[in-house]
Amino acid sequence: MAEITLDKVVKKYGGLDVVHGIDLQIAHEEFVVLVGPSGCGKSTTLRMIAGLEDISGGLVKIGDRVVNDLPPRKRNISMVFQNYALYPHMNVRENLGFGLKIAGEATASIVKRVDEAAEILGLTPLLDRTPAELSGGQRQRVAMGRAIVRRPDVFLFDEPLSNLDAKLRGQMRAEIKKLHQKVRTTVVYVTHDQVEAMTLADRIVVMRDGRIEQVGSPMDVFNHPRTTFVATFIGSPPMNLLPATISGGAVRLADGTAVPIPDRLSDRVHEGRRVTLGIRPDDISPVGHGLSQDGPGAEVEMEVELAEPLGMESLIYTRLAGQEVQAKLYGPRLVQPGERLSFRMALDRAHLFDAETGRSVRED
């Protein structure tokens, strides 16, 4: 059993706090993705779990053991690095077997386990090549092979796909997911790519400035962002955010446009409260071209500034209350810039955030 527990974990570099006492519980066999922009402390957190960074405060536990002072080799973890970190002077077989050799495993057993790992990852024909003779995707697979061959308690991935091109990234993402389904090990995966986070994770941990902003399942984080930061970071294109005030029983935008208060939030706001209305591009569409026509909605007329056809859907750039708003048009229809269209907002999927704190009014 390899749960991971972070208890008020702090990282300081000199006087600079990089990670501010985070708490996190990761279950056995769970796939957790730490996601956030550069400098949010996600890689530092992962490296503290790995033992590659000293822990300035708090406790890190793997299973029942506090590992704060254990070197990486005693934590029974494997790690896949951003630049793969394959040993350039060893061939693939030696790279895969290195950890087992260091552990003093018998040669026959090393050969067997390396062959098994190579089989799982389709590396068998490449075993005698050196890393320099491999493509980016193959190197990535060797790095994963090196991680699984030791049968660790925990896999750590540090932005493993960020050096690959978009197509390969998609393929490798699927391979990582399949690998996890096969080997069922606790995984902590760091990325700045919200698509990777959404597609891979059992649970997403959104980080910002060394703090955890939100933890939840991908759909929970997507559907119920707790802050404007999470709302704009998860989901592509990002959620539209419009400053507004609660006035006359409606959400009134800067230009006076009134939008009804979403029913489920009506008891959370009071007259005069300054808020931010959040609505995803998927939930604001030209009438008749949205995802759903049911449920409460509000219609506003807006002028199309730009339309990007994406096949079955188009991304429309328009303007509301002086701010750029992105909307989605579903179904085949060409839209021209300058066209005025009536857009429908799906209010049951709209969000309200406090204008000052940026926190969802649901949290009050």
Partner: protein, 289 residues
């Protein structure tokens, strides 16, 4: 069409001119060495002949026989002892300088510590001081310590001459090796020490070999300090031994040239043996993206 032909012709001319110039420069650089080598295989009379005789008329190994005390005509110069002294001093000082250089270079490349920048700058500044400027204080201190005319005395001098350069060179090589390789090895079960020996050291080997060759050649060829700090066959090195061929009124050019060849050959062989590492080492920074 004509313009193209003309431009091609001018290009060819330019290339020919450059080749000729390079050849000329090479000749200028090689002539003294060539003259020494040629002179090692001919008698003194031929060396001093006017007009000069370029190609030995009567090639002979007599000069070598003479300085090794073989044959009838002997020169009382203990070349064998000088050779052994040079070898012992150069190899020992190189080995020590490399050990310090590897540890120091690794520390500068991988660790953060107080005064790191200052110490590194200090080492580089020390390199800028010409060794001969230190000869007097070194002589006084060495004589007080009683290590004038000992191999140990020269070894210490050469180690301190070579250490800054080996640290600087090896530091550069360790910097080129991504830190994540050592981290991956540690996650794979290595101690930091094992990660160094099994991963980082093999990758920096070219650089370490290059640093070693430079250190060896510096010690092997050094004359100025050695001539001050050595007296007898217990410590005199080959370059200092060359002076034995000069007497008050005569200079035995033939013997001197033969001994010069003996000095050059091991250095050439060593450079040839490690040339692959040397080139890989010296271009390492350039080929990595």
């Amino acid at each position: 069409m004509t313009a193209t032909v003309e431009s091609q012709r001018s290009k060819a001319l330019k290339r020919a001119g450059l080749t000729a110039l390079t050849f000329l420069l090479m000749v200028v650089m090689c002539v003294p060495g060539l003259w020494v080598v040629l002179s090692a295989f001919r008698p003194n009379a031929e060396i001093l002949a006017k007009p000069p005789v370029w190609i030995p008329q009567n090639p002979t190994f007599d000069n070598f026989r003479k300085i090794f005390g073989l044959g009838t005509d002997q020169v009382a110069i203990p070349v064998g002892s000088y050779f052994m002294n040079s070898l012992i001093i150069a190899l020992t000082s190189t080995a020590i300088a490399l050990m310090i250089g590897m540890a120091g270079g690794y520390a500068f490349a991988r660790y953060r510590f107080r005064g790191k920048g200052g110490i590194f700058l200090g080492l580089m500044l020390f390199r800028a001081v010409p060794g001969i400027a230190l000869s007097l204080p070194v002589f006084i201190i060495w004589s007080k310590m009683g290590i004038i005319d000992t191999k140990l005395g020269l070894i210490i001098v050469y180690v301190s001459l070579n250490v800054p350069f080996t640290i600087w060179l090896i530091d550069g090589f360790f910097r080129q090796i991504p830190l994540s390789l050592s981290e991956a090895a540690q996650v794979d079960g290595c101690t930091r020490w094992q990660a160094y020996w099994k991963i980082e050291f093999p990758l920096a080997r070219s650089g370490i070999a290059a640093a070693g060759v430079f250190a060896f050649l510096t010690s092997w060829n050094e004359f100025a300090l050695a001539s001050q700090l050595t007296r007898s066959t217990t410590s005199k090195t080959l370059p200092v031994g060359l002076l034995d061929f000069t007497a008050q009124f005569t200079i035995d050019w033939a013997g001197m040239c033969a001994m010069a060849v003996i000095i050059i050959v091991p250095a050439l062989i060593l450079t040839f043996l490690v040339q692959k590492h040397l080139i890989a080492g010296l271009t390492f920074g350039g080929v990595k993206g």
